[in-house]
């Protein structure tokens, strides 16, 4: 392994590398937690690859396994009660084979992460400048003075006003949006080749959310750096990613290029998520379509499609056997459903459910308010 000591933390890595070589390869990733009730499979056989310069969105409800996927890739999960199998390689380096010491060398220069709660990921008793410079001092072995200068540049590049004074302030003196900018500056400080953002805007206001997302996409395209953006909000991934993975109960349910997914979603779960978002175009007091119930707890073996109990399209076959990831018309578009949305099979399934009383005439599940 060689670490790019020479790479410029502001400009990112040089652009001479092959653009089509995948930066992140995840193969058959499965993460299981040992719980008192038995093993809980939070991530179940997840595979995907990510090329340079692309942004990938991972979308799903709480408990769908999206954050655990990110933490498994980073190897941030505790050792004591977690088993992770499968392959994860970042720029050809096998993450699963690394020792704790080697991992520390990876975090920062190779892969960095932005977490949901900016206050929780900053050290409250350390000056902001020192926190931003810390990674540089450790990984790039630069002098204190140099690190401070770079930290200043980083704060400026993430759009923090008067960065000179901010360097010597503490996290509590900043607003939530400014703190998240600092966290992003820290993540970017060592010029990572991959950035994972886990719900980076969930704790923030709409206006600030838009700014942070813009900042992330700007940095991503400027540095030609792949980005994994994890969120529960389809609205967040729509404008800012090239590819989207929809997860449910630890499984990939649908994967497609972003425009394709929004134009031609095949998976009933994606459709249900989409329908539950209140949209500004709706007149006020529109009754929202909801997904009844809750995601299943992933303890023990699961039969059939995991979304079947909450699905408008579900037939008896869905409860019996689990669909495989099926390719759709578009390249790179796969989904996991027997009765996909917008196909004759799907329409037929809806019709059957309507006639056997599982759905109301309007097409909503019966017994749901």
């Amino acid at each position: 392994m060689s670490y790019t000591n020479g790479s410029d933390p502001i400009g990112g890595v040089s652009d001479t590398v092959d653009d089509h070589a995948p930066v992140l390869v995840v193969k058959n990733l499965t993460t299981t937690f040992a719980t008192p009730r038995g093993p809980l499979t939070a991530v179940d056989d997840v595979s995907f690859t990510l090329r340079r310069g692309t942004a990938l969105g991972i979308v799903g409800e709480s408990g769908s396994g999206k954050s655990v996927t990110a933490r498994s890739i980073m190897r941030l999960l505790p050792k004591s009660n977690v088993t992770t199998t499968g392959e994860v390689s970042i720029n050809g380096i096998d993450m699963m084979a690394l020792s704790a010491k080697e991992l520390r060398a990876m975090w920062g220069p190779e892969v960095a992460m932005v977490f949901q709660d900016p206050l929780g990921s900053l050290n409250p008793v350390m000056r902001i400048g020192d926190q931003v410079a810390e990674g540089l001092r450790i990984h790039h072995k630069v002098s204190r003075k140099e690190a401070r200068a770079t930290a200043l540049q980083l704060l400026r590049s993430v759009g923090i006003p008067s960065p000179q004074t901010r360097l010597d302030e503490y996290p509590h003196q900043l607003s939530g949006g400014m703190r998240q900018r600092v966290v992003i500056a820290i993540a970017l400080s060592c010029g990572p080749k991959l950035l994972i953002a886990d719900e980076p805007t969930t704790a923030l206001d709409v206006t600030v959310q838009a700014q942070i997302l813009d900042l992330l996409s700007d940095q991503q395209s400027e540095r030609h750096m792949p980005l994994v953006l994890i969120t529960h909000d389809l609205g967040v991934v729509a404008g800012r990613t090239q590819e989207v993975i929809v997860m449910y109960a630890g499984r990939i349910m649908e994967r497609a290029r972003t425009p394709v997914l929004f134009r031609d979603m095949k998976m009933p779960y994606t459709e249900a998520l989409f329908r539950s978002i209140p949209k500004v175009e709706y007149p006020s007091h529109t009754k929202l379509a909801i997904i009844p119930g809750r995601p299943p707890t992933m303890v023990g073996a699961v039969r059939g499609c995991r979304f079947a109990p909450r699905c408008r399209y579900a037939q008896s076959r869905c409860v019996e056997e689990e669909p495989e990831l099926t390719p759709a018309v578009d390249r790179d578009h796969v989904y996991r459903c027997f009765y996909p949305v917008g196909t004759p099979e799907g329409e037929q399934a809806l019709e059957i459910n309507r006639s056997n009383g599982r759905l109301t005439p309007e097409g909503e599940l019966v017994g749901v308010s």
Binding site: E61, G176, V206, Q209, L213, L273, V280
Partner: protein
């Protein structure tokens, strides 16, 4: 924005809730500076309407919601609920308005007590007000009233009590052993014990000190607990007692207490006397305090009088013994401590019985409420809040807010902590409850799409002022205030073909400690002119039912 004015308010006769010129300021410790959280906001609601309050964090929307509830009371301004002015009410009268005006909070998990069952949490408002109706304030109300005193005293007392009780017991045993050993040594049967016997004399002293300390603590406990528990329980068990009987009882108790103190003051000598006297004073003080309380508030005299008499009689028995010759002093100490403990136990048991009774009475209503909000009562009743997901916990909060059949509910970011799919469930539930119970809602949120979905009228807030008030469909189609437009542009669209075009503005809100002059939005406003800094815009109607506080609105005649 940043305007004052009341052009958007409707006829006071029609409105159910009306807040005028609401100002909330928080002083910054010691500096004399103030956080201007809310600066002159006026809003009104007609019955059955939902008002959406929307704005960024720090715009004062939550403070406005809380000011309406008077937690804390606004610095100035008027809040009228059903033509009753809330700001001039005293604490007790304000508390009596709570059943009409309820609140739902952002974080459902922390809004529910993690140590109580769903059954208790949902039933509590009902139980409190049943007790009120019958003239028996619930223990929780008493705790609220005397809680601070109780907490302080309990904190001081419980720790030493825990350590001292076993110590006192151990010392007592050692003392008895040492007495026996000493006797034998005296007889010369066991010569080797003579030296230890000198040392063993120490436990005797230790025993007395420990027991003395326990008694001291008991005296304090009377002072602290005596106000709350016996009064609450006596009033619960006996119900309404006529004030005349209560006053007589209290007078008798006071006489007894004074007699008791006088009679036993000189029964002891040396340091035990002071411990005992302190104990006596503690009890007498409680009795006298109740007497005074019953004189001041004759409506409550019945219960306080009986409680006072009860304590006085029990205490009198213990101290009468103290006057008898031949009863050892240590025995009196122990006896008085035991009587205190038994009394406390009794009181707690009775409280539990009464609580059980009320819980049984509330159960049908609690079950009905849970079913209404879509939770299965059979499985949920005995579980605790942390066993529920965020969405379910928010349903519980809604059930708790609804159980008293309120008229107005203030929803402070009720869906901000929830997932999109769950958010839709809760929004639909609120709409359904509104239709079913004819509720009037104040809905506070930072997500415009959510606010639009639930509101009949939306007020956009910025830095403690109102920018724009309009019907949601108009506001979203044609925002008149530049700030409304900024907020709208920031909404993420679930459609990749719509490019996010956020109007570029200075990132952060100005400090509410020193807000900008004139229009408060001018520092971030793309259209700001000199006039905006010098003159604060007044709210005016720019289109039918669309009110805006801006010199250069984007809608209406003035718009270019």
């Amino acid at each position: 924005m940043a305007g004052t004015g009341k052009a958007h308010l409707r006829d006071p006769e029609q409105t159910l809730l009306r807040a005028e010129d609401l100002v909330v300021e928080f002083p910054i410790g010691g500096t004399g500076a103030k956080v201007h959280a809310v600066s002159g906001i006026s809003i009104d609601l007609v019955e059955g309407e939902t008002l959406g309050l929307v704005g960024e964090s720090g715009c004062g929307k939550s403070t406005t919601g809380k000011a309406i509830m008077a937690i804390p009371k606004p610095t100035s301004g008027s809040i009228k609920l059903d033509q009753v002015e809330l700001t001039s009410l005293d604490d007790e009268s304000l508390r009596r308005t709570r059943p009409v005006l309820q609140m739902i909070f952002q974080d459902p998990i922390s809004a529910l007590n993690p140590r109580r069952t769903v059954r208790d949490i949902i039933a509590e408002p009902l139980v409190v007000w049943w007790e009120e109706e019958e003239g028996r304030p619930a223990t929780s109300v008493l705790f609220e009233r005397y809680g601070r005193l109780f907490q302080r005293v309990a904190g001081v007392i419980t720790k030493p009590l825990h350590y001292l009780m076993p110590l006192a017991f151990a010392a007592l045993v050692l003392w008895i052993v040492s007495e026996a050993v000493e006797q034998r040594a005296w007889e010369g049967a066991l010569g080797w014990t003579q030296v230890p016997a000198q040392i063993i004399g120490f436990p005797v002293l230790a025993a007395l000190v420990a027991i003395g300390a326990v008694l001291l603590a008991m005296g304090l406990l009377w002072l602290g607990l005596g106000f709350i528990v016996p009064f609450g329980v006596v009033s619960k068990v006996l119900g309404k007692v006529s004030p005349a009987v209560g006053l007589a009882a209290a007078a008798f108790a006071t006489a007894t207490a004074v007699f008791m103190v006088w009679r036993t003051w000189n029964s002891f000598t040396g340091w035990p006397a002071w411990v005992l006297r302190f104990h006596l004073i503690g009890i007498a003080a409680v009795v006298v305090a109740w007497f005074v309380a019953s004189l001041l508030k004759p409506s409550r005299a019945g219960a306080s009088g009986i409680a006072a008499a009860l304590v006085a009689v029990v205490a009198l028995q213990a101290f009468y013994l103290a006057g008898l010759d031949g009863v050892p002093k240590l025995g009196v100490f122990v006896l008085s401590a035991v009587i205190d403990l038994v009394l406390f136990r009794l009181v707690r048991k009775q409280a539990a019985v009464r609580a059980e009774e009320l819980r049984a009475r509330a159960e049908p209503k609690v079950r009905e409420m849970l079913e209404t909000v879509g939770i299965n009562p059979d499985t949920a009743l005995d579980r605790k809040p942390y066993e529920f997901s965020g969405g379910q916990a928010q349903r519980l909060s809604i059930a708790r807010a609804l159980i008293l059949d309120p008229k107005v509910i203030i929803c402070d970011e009720p869906v901000s902590a929830l997932d999109v799919s769950v958010q839709a469930q809760i929004l639909n539930l609120l709409e359904e409850m509104k239709a079913r119970y004819g509720l009037t809602l104040v809905f506070i949120a930072h997500d415009l799409a959510v606010v639009k979905n639930v509101s009949d009228r939306v007020a956009v807030m910025y830095l403690g002022k109102i920018c724009e008030v309009a019907r949601p469909d108009e506001l979203f189609a044609n925002p008149a205030h530049p700030y409304s437009q900024l907020l709208l542009s920031a909404i993420p669209h679930p459609d990749p073909l719509i490019e996010a075009h956020v109007t570029q503005v200075a990132a952060d809100l100005p400090s509410p400690v020193d807000p900008p002059s004139g229009c408060r939005f001018r520092t971030r406003c793309p259209l700001a002119q000199e006039r905006c800094a010098s003159e604060e815009p007044e709210i005016r109607e720019v289109a039918p039912e669309q009110f805006v506080a801006c010199h250069f609105p984007l809608v209406g005649e003035a718009a270019q």
